[in-house]
């Protein structure tokens, strides 16, 4: 550094005649050092930037992820309970029940996979995800209460005094719409709506309490 200072103080022809190489070297050294400073700054910046946003990102993702699995989780619980009941009360369990349970599990796996994929690529805004999926010609499935639409859709799913309390009022933030393949040739093709309908059919077939249909209907309305 000091030699650099010294070289700047000189003025006049001497510099160019005798110290030309010297200046060149010092100039290169200076540039090298300054580039290093930029890199060091960049590394520090990245660390601090990450630190600041990691928790923020986590909280945002947590809410989105949690909202996205409510409906499929409840359906899984409902159909599992029905299967349980069949095993205890009947000589056999209808294949429709076991089949549906398998489909629900498949749907759950697809949902988690779609979510992972959606979040792998840096998509700046949530609305972009829906747009991209639409461009790909893939249908949108919104699972969970208020999945992107808020309670303005007319369902009273967020009312606390209803039996089918969907838990605490969900924040009115847009949730990620994880699109699932609706191509019938893919094994994961069943939409949540179809699965819910299937469950309602089973409840009717088995002569189970009407109240269950009501619960399922509420879940179905939330997805529409």
């Amino acid at each position: 550094m000091m030699s650099w200072v010294k070289s700047v103080q000189y003025s006049g022809e001497d510099v160019f005649d005798e110290d030309a190489d010297d200046i060149n070297l010092q100039d290169k050294e200076w540039k090298y050092n300054m580039k290093k400073r930029v890199r060091d700054g960049y590394v520090d910046g990245i660390d601090h930037g990450k630190e600041a946003s990691l928790q923020l990102g986590f909280n945002m993702g947590y809410r989105e992820g949690a909202a996205s699995t409510i409906a499929i989780g409840r359906l899984k619980g409902i159909i599992s309970a029905i299967q349980c009941w069949c095993q205890l009360q009947r000589p056999d369990t209808p294949t429709s029940v076991t089949d549906l349970l398998q489909q629900v599990v498949k749907h759950e796996d697809s949902l988690m996979e779609a979510m992972r994929t959606a979040l792998e690529n840096p998509i700046p805004s949530v609305s972009d995800v829906s747009e991209n999926m639409e461009d790909l010609g893939v249908g949108e499935v919104e699972s969970g209460c208020c999945g992107g639409g808020g309670c303005s859709k007319g369902s009273d799913c967020c009312r606390k005094d209803s039996d089918m309390d969907l838990g605490p009022i969900l924040p009115q933030k847009p949730s990620l719409s994880f699109a699932l393949p609706t191509d019938p040739f893919t094994i994961t093709g069943e939409s949540l709506e179809q699965l819910l309908q299937c469950c309602m059919d089973i409840v009717s077939e088995l002569g189970l309490p009407q109240e269950l249909i009501w619960h399922l209907q509420k879940l179905k309305s939330a997805t529409e």
Binding site: R37, G41, D44, K50, G57, S80, M115
Partner: protein, 141 residues
């Protein structure tokens, strides 16, 4: 002379800071972007799994409640009481709130209550095994 070299030292330090600062700002933006992406990925996975589990217990609970509601025998009443307790715990538990400090604790309470409900209902073993391994890991965390 002394004044002049002080200025020069200042120049060097300022240039040094300036270059570091430029790099820092760019890095900070990039780090913020990366942090948001990483954080969101982990948060979503975590939230989805937890919500999946709690919602499962809830769906299970309301179904059994519907099935046993009109029974008046002692066994059913005991089962219904446990089911109501389970549903109540879940309703009170803000499992979708990442800041909730008692998340782990409440989750353990819910799981314990669910296990109690299952044993009261004489849930067949193969079902329990299914639940544990089904889907994205089931209830065993």
């Amino acid at each position: 002379m002394a004044h002049k070299s002080e200025d020069l030292f200042d120049c060097i330090l300022m240039a040094d800071d300036r270059f570091h600062g430029e790099g820092y700002r760019e890095g900070f933006d990039e780090g913020t972007r990366q942090g948001m992406i990483d954080g969101r990925k982990h948060g979503a996975s975590h939230g989805a799994k937890l919500s999946m589990e709690v919602s499962f217990y809830y769906g299970f609970g309301i179904t059994w409640k519907c099935l046993l509601q009109n029974n008046t025998d002692v066994k059913s009443r005991k089962r219904l009481k446990a089911l109501e307790s389970l549903l109540g715990l879940i309703q009170k538990f803000p499992h979708e709130e990442p800041h909730y400090e008692n998340l782990q604790e409440d989750m353990e309470k819910v799981r314990a209550k669910f296990r109690q409900v299952c044993s009261l209902l004489n849930v067949p073993t193969d079902f329990s095994d299914y639940v544990k391994t089904g889907g994205s890991g089931g209830i065993s965390f």
